[in-house]
Symmetry: C2
Subunit: 711 residues, 2 copies
């Protein structure tokens, strides 16, 4: 890539971003788009749909930037929860790292690279290759490389300091959030699996007897888990129907209430939809009640056990309960509405095997992903297409079409395949037997992150056959050399990647194109009665993407510092846009208590060590073996630092200490606790088993508590 | 090695063993050797020294075999403790494994190997090389190799079944031992390190306040640790002197009580030793008292905290106590007399760093051990010796001398270096900051085991420069091929190793040559007043040795089944001899509750996987790639089996479950517990700080409770 091409690309993408922002600032003010651009505010009842036309709505304004910027950290934390707070800290942390890195990179390393003469390039400045700004241009054996060497040490030191500070800051926030939280059912409850039910007894009795025997002073109540997947489907249907009914009734709009009975509501006699819906709802309700009475008998040897104190629950979680370690397996319960019922597995051995299977599936998917993609991409060769679809021959011969097909189709196919990855990883994680949606998402986040690093970073760096790539990692000695040869040559590709993919995804996150189109279609086809479910932020696809850009920044800091200003723009945009989205669009549905930070920390450490390995290889290639050898302690020190952080901070993210739990238990208000205990006793009943009575409720027109979100 | 040489070697070593046994059965009956051959019985007061001469004492008898055989497992367990029981289970387990392996090996694999014709060997039977009994003799590509393939699967299956059974059996014994144990201080006590002492307060107050705040219902008492290494040395001196004094007084033997004052007790005026000793003891006592009063102020931020119930202690151990995970670090306390005071470290960061340093030291020692050995062995070359010590020239030219020097000296040097390893590993482990001698020994056991496997098995197999050896393990793909080439060719060496080193060490374990000589010297020089300290079995050197032989058996089962009968003899001898020693010689000083079994289990799994890797390589070399590929699942399945065992049984060896602890707590007798609590409150006081008064005690002639063994 030459300099002028980069400038062009930057200009185009800046223009695109600007266009998105303008469109957003106009569209967000249109009443129809309010469920797209302020869905959280709608769900919280702070904003109402509708409103009259006025001219101001057609002028682009930047007021949303100010509004997103304004809330202090504390306000943001109390408004959006700890997880969103941690998510924003990723941007702040990255901005700190790359501001420092950018200053060193642009004002120290870049001039040194440019002054080198390893790459002979006599073209004028405009046509110079970007490679002369990389370390590749520094002369072999030059003493100037020692500046790069120092930069590696200084940068690593600063990043580690920032990591340490951030880990400490977030863990202190986590603890203070815990202290300031209201009593919540999941703090008092544990999940017990693998309950050994004696012959002639029920699981219910076994649990009751065990915990009254061994935790007499703290045991409160329990609810046994039941197999209810069929019932759940029925209830979901009933829920949908009920919501549509409520919506229809609320409109009070006579013409809409009648439709024709026949095909697509176009032919047939006119009927009152409300009547029709009510009849169907009644039928489903009968089915549900029948199913409920049969499900009550289908016990599964697992139960949610609630205790009177948080400390009591912690004791039961941390001390192996039964003599046999594969029985009475305990873990902290998730929030009641976070429980993931569909794939609830109990048996120790089944969970273990499914974990193994998922692990193998995940590794194979990650390593072998590029093979099917490459095959499908191969199909887009023009001659191939012409033989397969002879009738296209005429069109394909047009130069515009052929350029689009050969230029964009392969990358489009890759993007399409990539977009399937987060859902697939979520599916794999859910097979692993996690009990809650938040745990599934957290585990999927790690999987997607590893996947992205392998398939975007390594696959681009180590071009060649897939088998060759795997082979490199079987010969550990060769890794630094291979990486040092391959990574710098991809610098201009990744700079372009940041500018195109990075900036565009951030801008389209603001613009929400797909949701906008869906909402538009909905309004056209008048199906607005369908459930409006405000979205929650998909951490498992967002965090890996952001961390991948950070990885690029860290690894290319020494090699090609030109990438850093573009990354800074990315993180600045990201900071303000995600702040806006988290305040206005995404609803915090559950809380992991900042559980994503350790993943971020680990990925940063990985980036640092990867950078070190590449630098070791580079110094070797540049005939400066002493620098190469002196860099070896750097990854070792970094890993030791990581080990220390794991010991110092990670336990805080796994569990709360006895001190915290007991303090918090004592601070509970005696009086309110009795009420809370009553609520707690029913919090973990399977939502499918609560008695339903839509017909009556739909008459009285009170807005119902939706299933699965009672707490 | 040829067959006749093997037969000769077996005959010689059988003769040696027989000689040892005969000598043992005569010597053990001599009254003077009673402290060597029945030291445990002496310490327990079941046998008295002395007795008159009778002829029967000079006749070799095998009564000790019957006596060692007689006790049932239950009797042995109650007599020698769970650790000794587990130690004997190693032999029983190995016997089961190698009986099965021996039958398959000798009656199925050996004939097949012998019937092959890969190695052309036309010599008569007597001069045939042992190699024709190994897999090397099976023809390349022969279908008979499928029998070896099946044998690998069947053998692995049987070993895994036996491992599973044994793990389950030992863990059930562990639990039943716990149930049947008396209340012991270490069950109720935890060690807390990293206590944050607020300014202006003492550690004592901090501990008291913390545990009364957070464990009010179960907290009983605590004792803060103090720096007392100087004091300990003084006390050790006093102890020694006191014991010698008691011994002298007990003899009531006037001539012995007087010695001359001068050089070596030969010249100078006659003095009463008792008077002299008493005066010195008095001086030391004064010093001790002075030091004790100064030590009392030197608090260390660590304490032993005792609780009223075992469950209370378990809660404090398992739940992180303070908010900061590097403070209030808890672990279960060891038995009071098992506490290892000298290297007691408190600071989290210091312990962490010393662990790292020890890890590095241990790895370097293990990997680089052979280099200094090889250098020292190189010095024994005759020409080298002649140039260094010219005056030896005449002697070295004698053929007998030169044979001894070149033949025995190198292996003698290796053995000498090897004998230093267990103490060195104990030293390294003690630097790691373990709190008890038993933990140090357990950790040293693992270290010595890894060391032996590397330096005896791998070093012999992969001859060549040390650097080359390390290199193989950097190219994982090459490992099976390299091992498959190297391991079978060393078969005859290892068969000889079992017959010579194996049988001899077992026999000399019975004979206890060094102790016999020491005791003899003691009697000659009349220093029997010195402390008689009955030994405890050095698990950290014995278990690795036994496991190394088992590793040889497992790896060579397929390759050279001829090794198995000799191993069976080894384990049979070992079973009866160690049973004898554990009943009569070694005193069980502390109890790890069967903590060595997981090490044994893991080493067996390692042997199996190593065997599989070699077999994969062998099938490759033998041009049977299908068998090679079909063997790949075997190590994977074995590792999965191990993973399952780790989940199913290992937790039982780490901690007791809530169920066990609470049941045991409830079974305690209310009345006796008050007495026990009183004892508990003082159990973990630093023995150096208890007031001493030898002078009075030595007058009253009561046998003292030795320091460090009050409980």
């Amino acid at each position: 890539m030459i300099l002028s091409a980069l400038v062009t690309s930057v200009a185009i993408n800046l223009g695109l971003c600007f266009l998105f922002f303008t469109l957003y600032s106009i569209l967000r003010k249109q009443p129809g788009n309010i469920t797209v651009y302020a869905s959280r505010l709608v769900a919280e009842g702070k904003v109402k749909e509708g409103g009259a036309f006025n001219l101001e709505r057609l002028l682009p304004t930047a007021g949303w930037v100010r509004k997103a910027w304004e809330p202090s950290e504390e306000e943001f934390l109390s408004n959006s929860g700890l997880d969103a707070f941690v998510f924003m800290r990723i941007f702040i942390f990255s901005l700190k790292v790359f501001t420092f890195g950018g200053i060193i990179g642009m004002f120290v390393l870049l001039p040194i690279n440019y002054l080198g003469s390893q790459l002979t390039d006599y073209s004028d400045f405009q046509h110079k290759s970007l490679d002369i700004f990389t370390i590749a241009n520094v002369n072999n054996g030059s003493n100037r490389l020692w500046i790069h060497f120092c930069a590696a040490y200084v940068f690593t030191g600063v990043v580690c300091y920032l990591l340490y500070y951030e880990y400490g800051y977030i863990s202190s926030k986590r603890i203070s959030c815990f202290y300031s939280s209201e009593p919540q059912p999941h703090q008092f409850t544990i999940l017990v699996r693998g309950i050994p039910v004696p012959r002639g007894s029920t699981c219910n009795d076994a649990v009751e007897r065990f915990f009254q025997e061994y935790h007499p002073s703290t045991y409160l109540s329990h609810s046994v888990v039941r197999r209810s997947s069929k019932l759940q489907n029925l209830i979901t249907d009933a829920d949908k129907l009920y919501r549509r009914l409520i919506h229809l009734k609320s409109k009070n709009d006579a013409p809409q209430r009648h439709t024709r009975d026949g095909f697509l509501g176009i032919v047939g006699p006119k009927v009152d939809i409300v009547d029709q819906y009510e009849r169907r709802l009644g039928n489903i309700e009968d089915n549900v009640r029948m199913e409920q009475s049969s499900v009550a008998a289908k016990e599964v040897p697992a139960a949610f056990v609630s205790f009177k104190t948080r400390f009591g629950a912690a004791i039961a979680v941390h001390i192996q309960e039964g003599v046999n370690p594969t029985e009475w397996i305990t873990e902290q319960a998730p929030e009641p509405h976070d429980v993931y019922w569909p794939l609830f597995t109990v048996s120790f051995i089944r969970r273990w095997i499914s974990k193994l299977v998922v692990f193998v599936a995940c590794v194979s998917l990650t390593v072998l992903f590029l093979i099917p993609v490459a095959i499908v991409q191969g199909l887009t060769h023009l001659d191939q297409l012409e033989t397969w679809f002879p009738f296209l021959k005429g069109i394909l011969r047009l130069s515009v079409v052929s350029q689009v097909v050969t230029g964009y189709l392969p990358s489009l196919i890759l993007q399409m395949f990539l977009s399937f990855i987060p859902p697939v990883m979520v599916m794999l994680s859910s097979l692993q037997g996690y009990i809650s949606w938040s745990l599934i998402q957290k585990s999927a986040c790690t999987k997607v992150l590893l996947f992205s690093i392998w398939n975007i970073f390594f696959a681009n760096v180590l071009s060649g056959s897939a088998l060759y790539r795997v082979n490199v990692f079987l010969e550990p000695k060769e890794i630094p050399r291979v990486l040092a040869e391959a990574v710098p040559s991809q610098a201009s590709f990744f700079i372009a990647y940041v500018v195109t993919t990075g900036w565009t995804t951030i801008a389209s996150e603001l613009f929400q194109l797909t949701k906008l189109i869906f909402s538009f279609m909905n309004r056209i086809f008048r199906r607005s009665g369908d459930d409006f479910d405000p979205p929650s932020i998909p951490y498992h696809s967002e965090i890996p993407r952001i961390r991948l850009f950070a990885l690029l920044g860290v690894t290319y800091f020494i090699l090609a510092p030109l990438i850093l200003p573009f990354l800074l723009v990315y993180f600045c945009l990201g900071y303000i846009i995600y702040r806006n989205q988290l305040l206005k669009v995404y609803v915090p549905k559950y809380e992991t208590g900042g559980g994503y930070w350790p993943t971020v920390h680990n990925s940063t450490i990985f980036s640092l060590v990867l950078m070190h390995v590449i630098v070791i290889g580079i110094f070797g290639l540049k005939k400066l073996p002493l620098a190469s050898a002196l860099t070896v302690p750097l990854p070792v020190l970094t890993l030791l630092f990581n080990e220390y952080c794991q010991k110092r901070f990670f336990p805080l993210f796994k569990n709360y200490s006895a001190e915290c739990l007991i303090k918090k238990d004592r601070s509970d208000d005696e009086h309110n606790m009795h009420e809370f205990y009553d609520k707690l006793a029913n919090a973990y009943n399977d939502p499918a088993l609560t008695p339903i009575n839509y017909s009556e409720r739909s008459d009285s027109r009170t807005l119902p508590l939706l299933h699965g979100s009672e707490a």
